[in-house]
Symmetry: C2
Subunit: 347 residues, 2 copies
DNA sequence: TTTTAGCACTCAAGGAAAAGGAGTGCTAAT
DNA sequence: ATTAGCACTCCTTTTCCTTGAGTGCTAAAA
């Protein structure tokens, strides 16, 4: 049997109506939607074919049709009209990203909330490095006799600092010696290598200074590891409760717990800029009845972030993909501004 | 009519049974619970009195009784036996706080998650300053010709840093001059005063340096303001869905949205170390059918945090208060360790 | 005066049966 | 190939009934 153009058109109507109403779609409604050019009986024949071809399903004999995952797949691949965001909405997206971006973490969680509120589904966001982070530069600033601030600059213009307590007094000379040591021997290398080198210099340094050194190194190791870890932030999980398919508290609870606890297994985009996973295409059990749309955005310094949306299989793919693309673009512009195209002179 | 001891005892049984089962409690069950010393008929008489006194309510004529807010109030004030945590549990609480405390934010969100999972209700956490934050010390570290790192140390041992981009080259001499200026004129004063002083020195400094100075000051102002703001973190909102009173998606949605959006109006503890708000005692509409238990913990440097739990009116007050107290104590010990009792020498 | 047994009464919850209705599949006509 | 017509299916909603836990009251017992 052929998948004629009319069949595709009917499929499109079914998908879009079901996305809107969450109710099975009947032949009469389809006929009306298509402008009365054909009768409902004709539609019925076509519908039977579409079921046989596997694009539609029938909850029960006397109900309308709903799209199967295969139907959604065809929809997003061929039938869906790519929405263009209005200028006003693009503007709003960028505004929502602009409020005080301060730290990366805060920016991301804000982005997550913004996405979620734009698309009315839960969203998740992460930034991750493709290469292992290394320290780029150290600094130790004396505060008083018993404490100093360690400043660590990592690749990707990320800076972190922390107060270190010292049991024993360390004088200025020793301090600048340590900074020198840190910058010559502990930059640009892996965490393992750092610990290795720490062992090597153990005997050549007076104990009070060594204690401080090892504090600084272990702080750096922690910070680097944390920066390299892919921390995923979720937002707007409660949006689920507005959807009829999650009015059942158990279903909602399952997915929401998954989103707030084991978010590690959320899909990542692999190749292209955007990835859509429909229902059973998800490997994770909790997502088998859900769909995920995830976009990636490149930011300088070998870092790549991701931003995704989770919803029911009948999610509004056209709207979500358009907005997600808008956000990814906005984030890239934002980071692009922070890291101008010309590369660092040094190094 | 008198509130006899027996009436109180009955009230206690009703509250505790209802907390356990979420079902109205009948006279027969109460009689059984009380060891058969009195008959169900006697209990029925007493129950009628308790209803008249306003401590109990009847969902409908032929149902058992449930506690009214007034009943819960009497329970938490007089009847509730203060639970003592087992050593094992105290240990677990402290362990849950000990994993890499890194930054304050991260610690708090971890504490929130931990509390929530201990008590099986949603939790919220915040740290806030009672006095306005001021800058304690500045540092500017050159990175290359076009950027430097600004390090800001605030009261409360909080340190923040950020990379600043410079349009124009600023040499080392100017940089150390700026650091000096910042530390002499912009420490220990309010944000407003800082902006004021920035204006005052505008003409005495060469433009490229002034640009950097104003960047640094505005960064400090942002950081201080953010540190002073009371940011509230919620965790475990999905716990709600396990409770029978929130199986209705609309109810759950209302409270969950409130918890994730407008958390500003969550109750704060005012005087004592712990505060309990039962049902209509809450002013916020979304909390009228819920109860809140909130504890505060003091941390050094005029800062005080709060940690709270939100649940149904039939929440397990005894369990929650005990665990909340455990967490508050754990947090105080944690911060107490970071800030030793002896005060700073300088300043 | 307090407690208890006994009993009629109430009312929500649960279930079966009936009514209603949206939608289908098939047939025969166009 | 399309369409009107119609019987049929089966979910949904409504209605009605039953069930049973629990009450309130009364009258007897302690």
């Amino acid at each position: 049997m052929e998948l004629t153009d009319r069949k595709k058109q009917i499929l499109k109507v079914v998908v879009e109506s079901y996305i809107r109403t969450a109710e099975p779609v009947g032949s009469k409604a389809i006929a009306a939607e298509m402008g009365g050019s054909v009768s409902s009986a004709t539609i019925r024949n076509e519908l039977a074919d579409l079921v046989e071809l596997g694009y539609l399903e029938q909850p029960h004999t006397s109900a309308g049709r709903i799209p199967s995952p295969k139907g959604y797949r065809l929809y997003v691949n061929e039938l869906m009209e790519r929405q263009r965001l209005s200028l006003a909405e693009t503007e709003k997206i960028n505004q929502s990203l602009h409020g005080k971006m301060e730290e990366l973490d805060r920016l991301l969680s804000q982005a997550g909330r913004a996405v979620s509120s734009f698309v009315n589904y839960p969203a998740y966001v992460a930034a991750a490095n493709r290469i292992t982070q290394t320290a780029r530069r150290f600094e130790l600033l004396p505060v008083d006799d018993h404490s100093c601030i360690a400043v660590l600059m990592m690749s990707g213009s990320r800076v972190k600092s922390q107060l270190l307590r010292m049991q024993l007094k360390v004088d200025m000379d020793q301090l600048s010696m340590l900074v020198n040591l840190l910058n010559t021997h502990f930059t640009g290398v892996s965490v393992d290598e750092m610990n290795q080198r720490l062992m090597n210099v153990a005997e050549q340094i007076p104990p009070p200074a060594f204690l401080l050194l090892s504090q600084a190194v272990s702080y750096a190791a922690d910070a680097l590891e944390e920066a390299g870890r892919r921390e995923i932030i979720t937002a707007g999980t409660n949006q689920l409760l507005k959807l009829p398919e999650f009015r059942d508290a158990d279903k909602a609870h399952e997915l929401m717990s998954f989103l707030s606890d084991s978010k590690d297994s959320l899909p990542l985009p692999d190749d292209g800029p955007m990835k859509i996973l429909i229902g059973p295409e998800n490997v994770t059990d909790a997502l088998r009845d859900a769909s995920v749309v995830v976009a990636s955005y490149d930011i300088g310094d070998d870092m790549r972030g991701l931003i995704g949306v989770v919803g029911p299989t009948r999610m509004d793919y056209a709207a979500v993909t358009a907005r997600l693309a808008g956000f990814a673009e906005g984030l890239m512009r934002l980071f692009g501004k922070e890291l101008p195209p010309k590369e660092e002179h040094k190094e």
